[in-house]
Amino acid sequence: MLDLQRLKLFLPFLFLLALFGLLGRELFYATPNEPPSVLIGEAVPHFQLPSLFSPSILFTPKTFHGQISLLNVWASWCYACQVEAPMLMKIKDQYHIPVYGIAYKDKAEDAKQWLQAHGNPYALIGSDLKGDVAIDLGVYGTPETFVIDRQGKIIYRHIGVLDQKAWDDVLHPLIQQLQKEKL
């Protein structure tokens, strides 16, 4: 009887402790800047963008079919994209994964100049002058990278610079797993 009374006494403190635990978790481990994309598992929303180098060629989600690829949203005015550029080159040259680009709110001549300076890892680049396609993709900012499977579905989204660590830890294993799945 006495023990039960004592337990009752401590109950509020236990509640408080649980609350602190919850708040602490939110404080240290939550990633409010990277909420999960609602598009994961969905087909890439329809878009139609003129190719940066030859505007008569249209870049549409059909391009993604039949291969595992990356879709990278970037801009010449985006500093972080410069940091990311060598990694994208490496993905194209060493890992042989095709990378597609969306030039986000970027003037064609600026984008071309940037590609000359930093290299062009992209198999095809669509010019999203007004940023409409980026909004349809739920993009927060540049750079952002989507992993797309053979059916043209979005499997994963990486927000921010894609570095070797993110590639080794998350994207590459994911792609290898997708490659194992039967054609």
């Binding site: 999960p36 609602v38 598009l39 709110k105 007004k130 940023g131 909004i135 349809d136 739920g138 927060y140």
Partner: protein
Amino acid sequence: MLSHTRLLSFLITLAFFFLSASVFAYNQSEYQFASNNDASRFDNILNETRCIVCQNQTLADSDAPLANDLRDKIYHLVLENKSDAEINDFLTSRYGEFILLRPRLQTSTMTLWFFPFFALLTAFVFLIRLKHK
């Protein structure tokens, strides 16, 4: 005399509070509507939508480039006579429920909406039992 000083300091604090409320507000003259109803609908939606790159601001009081783009999108959706629900669907299908500052009532937000009532009720029951002892 003392109460006067107190009142004055209270008013000054209050003044600061209101003066610091908002630094940026979108330029309403940039968005023209045929009807006042549409204009106020537009304003309401902007005030209920999170600017996702500057998370605790609304689309109405953020000057982030993405906020500008989303304002333009919503403007055109209002002009196209899309309902509030359709516009909310447009936003959440791209950016998730998170973009709405007032989460809608659905399975995933049940706890959020009803836990406060549950907690209050529990507290009352607890208090009443305590009193009757």
